[in-house]
């Protein structure tokens, strides 16, 4: 009896002591940061922008971000604050002094750096985030073509009730657009420390034009590619010819050497990068009609098999063979030429392969000769030929890669013509 009483008392006291009620932190006592933006500071090292969720406003009408973008009426699903701070955590402390809740980063989805900061190097900031327990390895890394603060403030969640969902959906859109890539924090960090590949971050930006009438073709990158007009991916973020309530966009990649940004890829180049790395899923691709100048054919292109790469050394020159396997369905033939027919279909396959090979070669030359970084990860292929780390380090892949010669083959098969198996002409 005595023993039972003691056990009962212990259980009772434990209930009170171990439930931690006296210093509890309720869910609604915390401010959940959705996105962090880092710019170079004007009066201190950093200008840090935090976009904080307002859960009580989520799901209500008139959702938006900031009033200045003209969309916000009624409750806002997020609020944004910016501080000038010497370092990341000191900035968090400063923000905690004037918001009514404690900052919590366990649901942070996006980490945006300004390109100005990224070009100087972001290793110290990346380390701080990696060390922090609350930050997740699955948050996305982006580089804003201008200011990270501007980008975060100008986002307008037109279709989303939940800001977290907005970041997830847009950053994962590469799965069906191929205009950005999987730039999870973990991938970035891991590749930045790798001796055989280099990291990339998603390029984001604020629209440079207010209306389509103000758009100039100079904003596109198509002229660098010797084309007469732009295709859907010939832009970087902020330069897309569009009009929409959300004045921000996401297209292209920021290319890094270690933790320092060295260049940019536009949407089309990003697509080829995905095809080369094997991360490409599917997307709509516009290719020139081989028989009708000025017309285009639209294909829904998928990666049928992972790409095959091999690297051989010829003296100090790496000879890189890359083979890309794609399959496509026809979506539209502007010229009305009967490409559904087997003989024509083969011609279309060949011309598409040539078109892709030419563009991809340009990309490979750009990243190896201009940026001098291996973002595709060809180094992974040759690393396996070395027995020990010392030998691999001595080999110094990053120094040899810029001299690489590429041999690229795109293997594309058209599988289905959509719902039409034969194009008959219109009668006039």
């Amino acid at each position: 009896m005595k023993k039972t009483t003691i056990l009962f008392l212990i259980a009772l006291i434990s209930n009170i002591l171990f439930s931690g009620c006296y210093d509890r932190i309720e869910i609604d006592d915390q401010a959940y940061v959705m996105a962090i933006g880092l710019d170079k500071g004007k009066t201190n090292f950093l200008r840090m922008t935090l976009q904080i969720a307002v859960p009580s406003a989520s799901g209500k009408s008139s959702l938006g971000s900031e009033e200045e973008n003209g969309e916000g009426e009624g409750p806002k699903s997020v609020t944004t604050t910016t501080v000038e701070t010497p370092a990341i955590y000191s900035g968090f402390n400063m923000v905690n002094t004037y918001i009514s809740k404690r900052l919590n980063f366990s649901h942070t989805k996006a980490l945006i750096f300004s390109s100005e900061l990224a070009k100087e190097g972001i290793s110290e900031y990346i380390n701080a985030f990696y060390r922090g327990r609350e930050f997740r390895n699955t948050m996305f890394i982006g580089v804003s073509t201008d200011s990270a603060e501007d980008y975060i403030r100008k986002i307008n969640y037109v279709l989303d009730v939940n800001p977290s969902k907005f970041y997830e959906e847009t950053f994962y859109s590469y799965l069906y657009t191929s205009f950005n890539a999987n730039t999870h924090f973990f991938n970035f960090y891991s590749q930045a420390k790798c001796s055989c590949s280099s990291p990339v971050a998603t390029l984001v930006g604020v629209d440079k034009i207010g209306s389509l009438n103000a758009y100039s073709i100079e904003y596109s990158t198509f002229m660098e590619k010797e084309r007469e007009n732009y295709l859907e991916g010939d832009f970087t973020a902020g330069n897309i010819p569009k009009e929409y309530k959300n004045k921000t966009s996401m297209m292209g990649l920021a290319v890094f050497n270690g933790a320092k940004m060295v260049g940019e890829l536009d949407g089309q180049e990003t697509r080829y990068h995905l095809m080369l790395t094997g991360e490409y899923n599917y997307s709509y691709l516009t290719v020139p009609d081989p028989e009708s100048e000025g017309s285009f054919i639209l294909l829904n292109v998928k990666q049928s098999r992972p790409p095959r790469h091999s690297v051989k050394m010829m003296g100090d020159t790496p000879i890189i063979n890359a083979r890309i396997f794609l399959e496509a369905d026809i979506l539209s033939i502007q010229s009305g030429i009967n490409y559904e027919h087997a003989s024509k279909m083969h011609k279309l396959e060949i011309s598409t392969e040539e078109f892709l090979e030419k563009d991809m070669m340009m990309l490979l030359q750009k990243i190896s000769k201009d940026y001098r970084v291996d973002i595709v990860g060809f180094g992974k292929k040759i690393k396996g030929k070395f027995m020990t780390l010392d030998k691999w380090t001595e080999f110094d892949w990053k120094k040899k890669y810029p001299n690489a010669d590429f041999d690229l083959v795109v293997d594309l098969k058209i599988r289905r013509p959509g719902l039409i198996i034969k194009t008959s002409p219109y009668e006039s």
Partner: protein
Amino acid sequence: MNKKEAEMNIGNWEMAALVILILCTKIFLSFPRLMAESAGQAGWILSIYVSLITITVFWFMLRLYKKHYGKDLIDLGEHIGGAAGRIFVGLIIIGFTIYVNSVILREFSEDMKIISLSISPISFVSLFFLAAMIISAYVGLEALVRMNAIAVPIISLGYIIIMLGVGRYYDLSKIMPLFGLGFKQIFINGITRISIFSELLIVFMLTPNLKKFNNFKKSTYIGIVISSVFLTISSLVYLLVFAYPHATESFLPIYQLARLVDYGSFFQRGESVFLLIWAVAAMLYLSLGFNVLLQSFKKTFKLDHYKPLILPFAVIIFTLSLMPPNLMSVIELDTGYLRKWGFIISFGFAILLFVLAGLKKTKKKGEAH
């Protein structure tokens, strides 16, 4: 020894589960990182190598020990050197278990503080584990061993979920170059890493509880082989996900792996699985070590009861665990000393005892003739 303790009997699976727990709990601490630090990309090869060496050494130990089956190490000390021998051996085992318990208690507490109870004082966090150790000592080793036999499959399941959950991050190129830091580092310098199996010493303290030598042999071999597989898988998976030298950065490798588990919005935050299995494994590991410590002390000084020792030893371990000034010193005490030189006690000292006991037996037989 009281009647209840004398009747204690450990089954084959219970013994195997006990071996798995004492050898594999380090997976949740620093083991995968330690392998990466020691051999680079070849950490998993080092794990296989030390496992094979351990199985060979253990086979040799069992051959020496077979003649003395039924006696634990302290009994053997007494057999060799009488009371002085008993006390000498007993003090070495007590010293070893106190060291292991206090270092691991602090390590687990620090881990818990970092990943979950970040604003609580370390002494408060340690008290949770200490409470488990004290309660387990009161209920006794038998209950603990039975509980462990139930917990090990559950812990293993959680571990497998984490290992499979990060499958999308596997990249074979990350374990290239295949021999990482080099042959010398793996096959010569790596030999001392058999110390990761140091806890095997404990099984020679439990032999009086397994009646037949063959059962003891079978269950410990099963335990060692399963543990070797688990240890190697953890090291391999860790290196397939975290490339070297990135792999040497993580303080808690399996926790970092668990944090990567993310399958859409319906299956995320695998660390919740980690936290559960990790805390259960930690409590069982520390409780087993604490019980062995108490039994060893009782036997060394021929005491009738061990229960009056529970609180004093709990205080000693708690105090010692708080002595290292910071987490880095605790990690150094674990990976730099225990996991490097622990084999001297667990294998070297045990083999010496078996050899001396064998010589004494032969001498006695000769004298009898």
